[in-house]
Symmetry: C2
Subunit: 144 residues, 2 copies
Amino acid sequence: MSIIFSKKCEYGLQAVLFLSAKGLGEVYSAEEISEHLRIPKEFVSKILQQLTATGIVDSKKGKKGGFFLGKKSSQIRLLDIVLAIDGDGIFSNCVLGFPSCSHDTPCPLHNEWGSLIKKTKEMLTKQTIDKFTTRTLKKISTIK
Amino acid sequence: MSIIFSKKCEYGLQAVLFLSAKGLGEVYSAEEISEHLRIPKEFVSKILQQLTATGIVDSKKGKKGGFFLGKKSSQIRLLDIVLAIDGDGIFSNCVLGFPSCSHDTPCPLHNEWGSLIKKTKEMLTKQTIDKFTTRTLKKISTIK
DNA sequence: AACTTATCAGATTTAATTATCTGATTAAAA
DNA sequence: TTTTAATCAGATAATTAAATCTGATAAGTT
């Protein structure tokens, strides 16, 4: 099996897109998010805690508490979420797994892969989560 | 951590590139391949067995046996190796992990991701392993 | 024919990822 | 002030992926 983002990262992207689509300031508990997205409650809670540390998400303890966006959705790039959870391995690691792959000692696929991953990074950098509100709401409606 | 190809697939690509660079008909034992590429012997053996089943690689038992290319390197696409080991999940699975992502009910990233993955598939389809002989030999020389 | 060296098949072990549980703390509501 | 419902932290369990081991079979070499 091949994977682009870890499950953690997939869930993180889903959750932040969800919070964004629901509107800034809206507080949702881990349980509500878990139910809407059909992902494990404790797991999504852990992931959102991690995103809270970076400022992408903020949280409120106690009754009526939960998670909400930490900044304007137009200022959260998809890249920020990916970097916060999976790190930059996807952009820097050798696609063939050679530990010593670099510009000077490239692996056979270095250049071909490099230009693809560059385009991917550009997309993730350019796209902020506010761009997806309509699509996210539509998608969520097909889950529940 | 995010991954493009599984370790299995990375090692499979490395091993087939190695066999190709060393020339058609040349037989290398799992041990030799393991030493040259610095990957676990039994693991690379298992992976090459798997590729043998698809015809990409062929094997010879007994003394002086080992693995060798099953067809001309100009007829082995990178895509063939990826599909044989990791399947087509990387091309068909939803990047956000939504089980029900499709053209009709797309996830927020469906289109953006789709065009990137299409380009990736095109590259893996176009590139055959004979194109990498020089680069592979150069790369191998930096390992040992 | 006996010996050696290889693939091959299947089981087992180890490591990493994913998921769950438990208890402490926090804060709103009764 | 007590109850309730939430985050948060850390430990544990389950699952999957990666790596290793064991034994059987095959085929050259002596």
